[in-house]
Structures are given as structure tokens and as C-alpha cells.
């Protein structure tokens, strides 16, 4: 069984003595999984198993070393072939190395030690490569559409549809949405589901880079291009070559820099600061902003030509408050993830907690929800997360309530809830403050239109 650490080795050798010796010797390392073949044909028939290493006797009876090497490289190009030859022939060795052999070892007294060292050297490469592949797969899985953006609401389903269209082509994508809606996540998902997924995804937050440094950051610079430019440095455009460049907060870009970006996008070429050399670029661009770029165009703070150049396929991410029950689906997902990562028992939301989440407008969107849920997971000692564990900011509760479209009845419920929260669920006090009958509030509690915390529920007879 091949595990993450194991190295699969094929010994292709017709000399039973020598192959047995190699087998015994290499099996001293328990991580080596070894198979012996006494003919080239038998070994080639098993190449679909993709061995990490093939030790190949140059003089096999059924095929020449050249022929075997060529066929191994065709059927399993990643396998490293170490040729073991009875003759020290520099010309043959060079020829085989040119054809892709990893090493050439002469069958002498030191051959097995040379082989051992050769495998140790290439093992590091194999492990690094395997680690890289695993990481790439993990990243790919993480940014799979169904994992990256959670939700069933019609508005988010429409977003999924747009993302799928974007992933199939190289079209520029502009992602808009309030802060915390997951614009970068959308950009990454598009990249990791596109044909460019094997290449780099490079994200640049344009708001975080001083405008004087932005040109060098994006296009790179030559040594001595400006004070402090101690060496040549490639910019984000070149770094993301054949991959995706995500320009976040594009609305914050200086108007002069906008002209340079437009030129780079139009001509598909850049010039490093301090250089005259034109560098061709093949980069997929995704931009994002929380600003209204069209408004900025009208105000003259954003170039119209750049606006149309980057508009491409627009994806507008809806705020959480417009995503109906998605808040609960996302909360559940975040809870599971957090508990798993922190080895906490799985938790669930009580009805009261769900209502509290649904009532909140989440101006910070998913980012805010994540922070609320993670804190609640830590604060709740029991399996259940109750309303009291949800530290929903009430600083702008009125604003939150007004942000959401709702019916008069829903607004009424929210106001009553707001006052109940504020006055520690003292129904009489709330009734006095709002000038409504206390029985009205009790009825709303019974109808589960508003909720009170458990402590209160325990003390009152009408709950349950």
C-alpha cells in the first residue's frame, strides 16, 4: 500500500542475483515499496502504476536500454529512471541522461551505495512534488463552487451561475458587493475552477498600497530604478503569468495609475519601472470593489475607458440580509468548521438563536457572521448555542432593522425584540416603554414571534 511517505520503486533487472541484492538493500528503508521485473516487457506493462523510481539494467534481454527508457518516459513521464549498467561508457551515459534518465550508475562495488544516495536525493523532489500536488488538490477542493460560497437562496444561485460562466472563459470579471460578502472568495473560486487553476492566483489590495509604489508593485522594477530598488523585482502581473490577477478595491486606484493599468490591459504588455523592455503578459483579470464605479465615472474619479475595459462579466454579490435563510445555512457551516478545526464537540443553534440571527441585518455580512459564530462556539459550554451566546452588535440596531425590507408586522416584531433585549426581557417594562399591552407581548412570545432568553423562560409559566 502506498502512503504519503512511501516511494514506489521498480527494479528492472534480469540478473536474479543483482535484482535480489538491490531488493534487499533498498528494502532496508521501510518507506520503499519495491517490485522486481526480469523483463522489460513485464515492467512496461505495469507502468500505469506510476512508480516514483525505476532502476533499469541497461542490458535487458528483450529490449535495449534506450528503447525501455523511451517507453517509460512515454507511459510514466514523472517516473525517475536510474540506469544501472555493467559498463562505464560515458557516451552511453550522456546519451541516456539527455533522453531523460535521472542518473547513470555503473555496476561496481559501490553501485548499491550510489543507488541509495541517488534515491535519497530524488526522494526529496518526489516528496516536495507530492506535497505540492496535495496542496493544489486541497486548494481546488476548498474553492470548489459548492464549498466556497454557501447558500441556497435564489440570489446566490444566480451568482453561482455567473461564476460557472466566468470559469469557462478568460473574460475579465468585475465583482461588486458590500464589505464582507466574499468578493475575494468568488475570485479564487473562479480561478480554481478555470483552466488556469494550475497557475498562480495573485491578489493585490490596491487600497493597501501607497500610490507611489503601486506601479512598481504591479509592473515590477529594474535595479536602480528608484532609491531603494536594490535588485530587479518582477511585479504582480508577471507573478501571475498564465494565472489570475485579482485587483481588489479597484475603485481606490489613483487616476494616473488607471491610465497605466488601462494600457497594460489593452496591449497585454507591461514595462517594468526603469526599463524600456516590453514584457508580454497572459493574465486573467478579476477586479472587485465595494464602490459604485459608474457613479465614480460620472464624478470623474474613475476613467470611463478603464471602467468598460474591466467591467467584463459583472457579478454582484448580494448582502447577507437579502439572502433569506442563507444566514442559517452559512452559520451552520461556519459552526461545523470552527468546531472541527478546534476539536470542539459539534454544536447547533437553538430556535431563539436562529431567530436572533435572522433578525440581525449583518452590515458586516459573512465576515461579521463568521466572527459572531466563532465567538458563540467558544462561549457556549453546552452543545446548544443560545441567543445569549450570539454577540450581535446592537450599536446600530435601528439602522440594521431599517436596512432590511420587511412587512409592518415584521418591523413590529423586530422593535419589540429590540426592546426586550434592551430591558433584559422585562415584559412589563417594555410594555410601558412602547405603550402596548403586556398581554400583546406575552402573546407574541407564545407565538414565537419574539423570544426571551432561557433564564426568563424558566421563570415564566407560559413558556413551553
Amino acid at each position: 500500500m502506498k502512503n504519503q511517505k512511501s516511494i514506489k520503486i521498480f527494479i528492472v533487472e534480469d540478473d536474479l542475483w543483482y535484482s535480489s541484492m538491490l531488493e534487499y538493500y533498498l528494502s532496508l528503508n521501510p518507506d520503499y515499496v519495491i517490485q522486481k521485473f526480469d523483463s522489460a516487457k513485464a515492467a512496461l506493462a505495469k507502468m500505469h502504476e506510476k512508480p516514483d523510481v525505476v532502476t533499469l539494467d541497461y542490458s535487458m534481454p528483450d529490449m535495449t536500454g534506450d528503447q525501455i527508457l523511451t517507453q517509460i518516459k512515454e507511459s510514466s513521464p514523472e517516473s525517475k529512471v536510474i540506469v544501472i549498467s555493467g559498463q562505464e561508457d560515458v557516451k552511453i551515459a550522456l546519451d541516456l541522461l539527455k533522453k531523460g534518465a535521472y542518473d547513470y550508475i555503473v555496476k561496481d562495488e559501490d553501485a548499491k551505495d550510489k543507488l541509495w544516495n541517488s534515491i535519497i536525493n530524488l526522494r526529496e523532489n518526489v516528496e516536495l512534488k507530492r506535497e505540492l500536488e496535495t496542496l493544489k488538490e486541497e486548494v481546488g477542493r476548498k474553492y470548489d463552487f459548492s464549498n466556497a460560497i454557501i447558500g441556497n437562496s435564489p440570489v446566490i444561485q444566480r451568482v453561482f451561475g455567473m461564476m460557472e460562466k466566468a470559469a469557462k472563459t478568460n473574460i475579465t470579471v468585475s465583482v461588486t458587493g458590500e464589505t464582507g460578502t466574499g468578493k475575494e472568495l468568488v475570485a479564487k473560486s473562479i480561478h480554481y475552477n478555470s483552466p488556469r487553476k494550475g497557475q498562480s492566483f495573485v491578489a493585490v489590495n490596491l487600497a493597501a498600497i501607497p500610490k507611489d509604489l503601486l506601479e512598481s508593485e504591479l509592473f515590477g522594477h529594474e535595479k536602480g530604478a528608484f532609491t531603494g530598488a536594490m535588485a530587479r523585482r518582477i511585479g504582480k502581473f508577471e507573478e501571475s503569468s498564465k494565472g489570475t490577477l485579482f485587483l481588489d478595491e479597484i475603485g481606490e486606484m489613483d487616476i494616473n495609475m488607471q491610465a497605466k493599468l488601462l494600457r497594460a490591459l489593452q496591449e497585454k504588455e507591461i514595462v517594468r519601472v526603469g526599463s524600456n523592455e516590453i514584457v508580454k503578459i497572459d493574465v486573467r483579470i478579476i477586479v472587485a470593489t465595494h464602490r459604485n464605479l459608474l457613479e465614480m465615472v460620472k464624478n470623474g474619479t474613475f476613467r470611463e475607458d478603464l471602467y468598460y475595459r474591466i467591467l467584463g462579466l459583472p457579478i454582484n454579490l448580494p448582502p447577507l440580509r437579502e439572502r433569506e435563510n442563507d444566514v442559517l445555512i452559512i452559520a451552520s457551516y461556519l459552526m461545523d468548521n470552527f468546531c472541527k478545526e478546534n476539536k470542539l464537540p459539534r454544536k447547533s443553534l437553538t430556535t431563539e438563536a436562529k431567530k436572533k440571527l435572522m433578525a440581525h441585518a449583518f452590515p458586516g455580512n459573512v465576515r461579521e457572521l463568521k466572527s459572531v459564530i466563532e465567538l458563540a462556539c467558544v462561549m457556549a459550554d453546552e452543545k446548544d448555542i443560545d441567543a445569549e451566546h450570539l454577540n450581535v452588535s446592537s450599536q446600530n440596531v435601528m439602522g440594521d432593522i431599517m436596512m432590511k425590507e420587511a412587512t409592518l408586522k415584521e418591523f413590529t416584531n423586530k422593535f419589540i425584540q429590540l426592546f426586550l433585549d434592551k430591558y433584559n426581557y422585562d415584559v412589563l417594562k417594555v410594555a410601558r416603554k412602547l405603550d402596548v399591552g403586556k398581554s400583546t407581548i406575552y402573546r407574541m412570545i407564545q407565538n414565537k414571534e419574539v423570544f426571551v432568553n432561557k433564564k426568563y423562560a424558566y421563570e415564566t409559566s407560559f413558556m413551553n
Binding site: 540478473d15 542475483w17 534487499y24 555493467g86
Partner: protein, 123 residues
């Protein structure tokens, strides 16, 4: 052809030092290789001799090449040079007239080594 056990040399003609380095103190391991030697090398040697007698130099070179790594691994020092001479001369078809004599020496040593191996490992 040599066919008796009476010519066993008193001198030890081989050793398993290389193998002992790999698995110190593992007699089973050494016995396994002793068996492989007995199974393959005397027979390869006979093939080489027959090919030498019939002048099939390609075959001679092939068997000499095959035996070479075993001879090296078992430190059969008395024929290390000879096996290379046979391999190369047969391959290049040079000095073939003297190859029979060298091949006979190899055959004699291999025969004696096989007797020693049988005795040492009760095979």
C-alpha cells in the same frame, strides 16, 4: 568439463562481505544469496563455455556480462579481471584464440566456489 568435487581448493575463493554489510548477522539472508548463486551462476558459466567452444562470441560476451556482477558481489577476486577480459574480447571479437583458456579458468573457479558455497551453507 569439471565434474568432481575432489578439486575443492583449501583457499577461500569468495566472501559475502558486501552482503554482510547490508544485513549484519543475518545468516538466512546470506543463505538466500548462496542459493541464487548456485541456481544461476554455474549454469551461466556452462552456457558461456559452450558458446566459447562453438565460437558464438556474442553469447559468450552476454554470459560473461551477466556473471560479472555476481563475481564482483561475491568478491571472487581470482577471476574479476578474467571475466572482464572474456566479456570485452568476445564483444570485440579480439584475441578470441586465447579466450578458451581464460574461460576454462573461470569455469574451474566457479565450480570450486560452488562447492565451497554448498559446504558453507549446507546446500
Amino acid at each position: 568439463m569439471i565434474s568432481t568435487r575432489s578439486s575443492v581448493s583449501n583457499e577461500k575463493l569468495y566472501n559475502f562481505d558486501q552482503l554482510k554489510d547490508m544485513y549484519p548477522g543475518n545468516e538466512g539472508f546470506l543463505k538466500h544469496f548462496a542459493s541464487i548463486f548456485l541456481k544461476i551462476t554455474p549454469s551461466d558459466c556452462s552456457e558461456m563455455m559452450a558458446a566459447t567452444l562453438s565460437g558464438d562470441w556474442q553469447k559468450v560476451s552476454k554470459y560473461a556480462h551477466k556473471m560479472k556482477s555476481t563475481i564482483d558481489s561475491m568478491n571472487i577476486t581470482s577471476i574479476k579481471t578474467e571475466i572482464r577480459t572474456v566479456e570485452m574480447d568476445a564483444k570485440n571479437k579480439t584475441s578470441t584464440s586465447s579466450l578458451l583458456k581464460v574461460a576454462q579458468k573461470i569455469e574451474k573457479v566457479i565450480y570450486e566456489v560452488s562447492l565451497q558455497v554448498k559446504e558453507d551453507y549446507n546446500l
